[in-house]
């Protein structure tokens, strides 16, 4: 018998490296011990109105290594940027996975419902095709802010009538839980960790409004390394002269954005927006990229429309 310690170590070797997650650690590890390689779920990716940024971000990885992920955790069947097949044979591959069912379907990008030809999947519109790929899926993952909420394609006058995956499903009558992992682009650990959890436990992770709370539970602001400056009312005025103070007066949306960016960080955990002295632009938010200006600068902190947080946090104690 393996000791629990050895067991966990072994699990780390085979899989923890692949989901960069002390986070779901033990639960995932135990689950994975039980799944034979040939039983891992088939995964297909479909891109709607997207920029491929989410897929690219996944291949960059963070703590989570994409190569480990595709080699050791899932059976990646179809990916528009990576699949060796093309044309008809590519579409057949996609169809056969969806016909068999039980797959994990990842949708990147939004779906145009007004100007349907604004996104095609082969000869047909994505609008007409997507339904059949969703019907028998065991899980549908909305990958990135576009597929979660409409995102960039749905902004401005939204000429194409771009909608989120969820909205599309309600329009076409598909009832099934969707896991939403927002971000512009998606942060790799959040995606791969969620998929790992799903596979290993067969359960949906804890979610609020379809969004995993573990990754999107707390305000960026609360874990920001600049919080101490905020609490002392030291605000950055000139990007050139000051590289450390709180960015709220430069329009930082860390106070209204829930995500674990400051602790999880990006690209091998080397950096994150706020640490590069740039305000958080709230790219995981439902309203991203917003209708108001992205950076709302102010002389006084009270003039930042989302600075109510400060009053609020002072009243309630800082959580």
């Amino acid at each position: 018998m393996l000791s629990r310690r050895d067991f966990l170590k072994k699990c780390r070797d085979i899989s923890v490296a692949a989901f960069g997650a002390d986070i779901f650690g033990a639960e995932i590890a135990e689950g994975f011990m039980k799944i034979a390689a040939s039983d891992r779920p088939l995964v297909s990716f479909i891109q709607g109105q997207s920029c491929t940024g989410c897929s690219i971000s996944l291949t960059y990885g963070n703590e989570t290594n994409f190569i480990d992920f595709i080699m050791k955790l899932i059976r990646l069947q179809v990916h528009p940027n990576l699949s060796f097949s093309q044309g008809e044979s590519y579409l057949k591959m996609l169809d056969s996975v969806s016909a068999k069912g039980g797959h994990v379907l990842v949708v990147e990008g939004s779906i145009p419902v007004k100007m349907k030809k604004a996104c095609m999947l082969g000869e047909h519109t994505l609008y007409d095709e997507l339904k059949k790929h969703m019907e028998k899926a065991s899980a549908i993952i909305a990958c990135g802010s576009c597929s979660c909420f409409g995102g960039i394609p749905a902004s401005g006058m939204n000429e194409t009538g771009a909608v989120s995956v969820e909205k599309y499903m309600s329009m076409t009558g598909i009832k099934k839980p969707v896991i939403k992992i927002p971000g512009c682009p998606i942060q790799p650990d959040r995606f791969m960790g969620t998929v790992a959890y799903l596979i290993a436990t067969g359960k949906l992770p804890a979610m609020k409004d379809g969004i995993p709370t573990l990754y999107f539970g707390e305000l960026i602001h609360n874990n920001c390394t600049r919080f101490q400056y905020f609490s002392q009312d030291i605000y950055l005025d000139d990007y050139n002269k000051d590289k450390h103070s709180c960015l709220l007066k430069k329009g930082c949306r860390g106070t209204v954005t829930k995500a674990d960016c400051p602790t999880r960080r990006w690209n091998g955990s080397v950096n994150v927006c706020v640490e590069s002295n740039a305000p958080c632009i709230g790219c995981v938010n439902e309203k991203w990229p917003f209708t108001s200006d992205i950076y709302i600068e102010a002389k006084n902190v009270e003039d930042v429309p989302w600075s109510d947080f400060k009053k609020y946090s002072e009243k309630r104690g800082r959580k």
């Binding site: 491929t52 179809v78 093309q86 044979s89 604004a118 999947l121 082969g122 000139d238 640490e275 200006d293």
Partner: protein, 480 residues
């Protein structure tokens, strides 16, 4: 009798692309290239704060992420009348240059290589290399998916070559993610750098940051010199016929880019038409709409008569132009690249499938060398940014000419009283993948025409796929 052969969708590219060809006596006689996805960036930016463009326009494409950011801030800097401090320009070059190298790596190994090497050969590996054993188990376990269903073709099947290339396929992904951390050190995160603003880069750069960047660059350069260039040369040696396949009009266009501290450009700007080099004049560029899904005023119209693509058709004095690394070398009449092509019997820099592939590898070597020198220009105690006043209700126009892995690009912003009133982008894949107009086929349409097609089947044609992918299509960009 002509037959129709399509590849729809083209995989292993960025975006939604359809290729339709007519084949007669084993040769493509006519081709249509269609961009199949529209979002409407130029119009969604209208009415927004000009600086929002620096964030939103980056999201045109997650593959060439930083390129659009740089181009839009260059345009914004003209509107705000600000020049970044020397350090700001150095950092921008360090980001853009390293980014382009990673983009070339993705293109060669992960997008193109499966057109040349038969990865299934690695499934039968029985030796003792643990990495190859892993890969072989992975291929067997992933079943028919992923690497299955490749088009019929004349692939490399000798074991040693396949093993090496397959290993490099995965190594390239690893090097790319390391390089990405080099980019994030300077910019906060990638894709989509938020430290990039008009006037420079916000990040505090310490000696430690520079050391880490340098380290990443060294690793990247090692891979580029010891794997990428030799592998590209190997493909060229095995497929010499592709120096004659995939030729365009041999009209080229490039922007100046990557200045050094003495003011010399790594690439100079210019246009080549009828073998003659001229200065580039932006006012001579027109976008034609006759075969594109837009009405005459430029509004999207998915039912436009005679249209077959969401991509517009840019023309320079009526000519379709090829952009990309070959264009950069042709415009600069680059001696090094000429001699590289000379090894395969060419005396001139001309357009072809294989010259595009070689140009990317060669350019990566050049860019790494450039970046080693360029990063030395950074001065630790000097500013990295001259911030603009975001509350100034600016009015004016700005044009940002920059460069992506796949060619020259322009962002053109007009602002009035602090709001964007017009936004135009003409990007590399718009030039290359634009449809026919005024009786002239688009650049890639021209390149595909004349391609010999020996293989067919459900995967369409491997040969046509090779030609198309050699341009590194970026369809989200081309349509935007």
């Amino acid at each position: 009798m002509a037959r129709i052969l399509s590849v729809d969708p083209v995989s292993r590219i960025e975006g939604h692309l359809k290729i339709e060809t007519e084949i007669d006596s084993g040769v493509v006689t006519r081709a249509r290239v269609a961009g199949n996805m529209y979002r409407g960036f130029e119009r969604m930016l209208l009415g927004r704060h000009p600086v929002d463009s620096a964030r939103i326009a980056q999201r045109i494409c997650g593959v060439c992420h930083e390129v659009h950011g740089v181009s839009s801030v260059m345009a914004l800097e003209e509107i705000y009348k600000v020049t970044p401090p020397a350090n700001g320009l150095v950092l921008r070059d360090m980001i853009l240059g390293l980014h382009i190298v990673t983009d070339h790596l993705l293109h060669f190994y992960n997008l193109c290589l499966p057109d040349y090497a038969d990865f299934s050969v690695a499934a039968a590996y029985s030796g003792s290399d643990t990495r190859l054993k892993d890969i072989s188990a992975w291929i067997r376990n992933s079943g028919t998916g992923f690497i299955g269903g490749a088009a019929e073709g004349d692939y490399i099947r000798d074991k040693d070559a396949v093993y090496r290339l397959v290993l490099h396929y995965f190594e390239a992904l690893k090097i790319r993610s390391e390089a990405a951390s080099g980019l994030a050190l300077l910019g906060g995160k990638v894709p989509f750098i938020h430290a990039l603003l008009p006037g420079g880069i916000t990040t505090e750069i310490t000696a430690d940051t520079l050391m880490k960047y340098y380290h990443v660059l060294e690793k990247t350069a090692d891979f580029v010199n010891n794997s990428f260039l030799p592998d590209a040369l190997e493909i060229a040696r095995r497929y010499p016929q592709y120096f004659k396949i995939g030729e365009t009009y041999n009209t080229f266009y490039a922007h100046s880019s990557f200045k050094d501290s003495k003011g010399t450009n790594l690439f100079n700007a210019g246009v080549i038409i009828n073998g003659e080099r001229k200065n580039f004049d932006y006012s001579k560029v027109k976008e034609l709409l006759s075969a594109s899904f837009y009405d005459n005023s430029g509004r999207p119209d998915e039912n436009r008569q005679g249209a077959y693509s969401w991509i517009k058709a840019p023309r320079y004095e009526g000519f379709p132009l090829e952009v990309g690394p070959v264009a950069r070398f042709a415009v600069n009449n680059d001696a090094g690249f000429k001699s590289l092509l000379g090894r395969f019997g060419s005396t001139n820099i001309t357009s072809s499938t294989m010259s595009r592939i070689l140009a990317r590898a060669y350019e990566s070597v050049r860019l790494c060398n450039y970046l080693f020198e360029r990063s030395e220009d950074f001065r630790l105690d000097e500013p990295t940014i001259r911030p603009v006043d975001l509350q100034a209700p600016v009015t004016g126009q700005g044009v940002g000419f920059s460069v992506a892995a796949r060619g020259a690009l322009v962002h053109h912003i007009t602002a009035e009283k602090g709001k964007v009133t017009d936004y135009k982008m003409i990007v590399p894949s718009t030039w290359n993948f634009g449809p026919a107009a005024d009786g002239k086929a688009g650049v890639v349409e021209k390149a595909i025409t004349g391609t010999p097609v020996r293989f067919g089947g459900e995967g369409g044609s491997v040969e046509v796929g090779r030609v198309v992918r050699s341009f590194d299509p970026c369809t989200a960009c081309s349509v935007h």
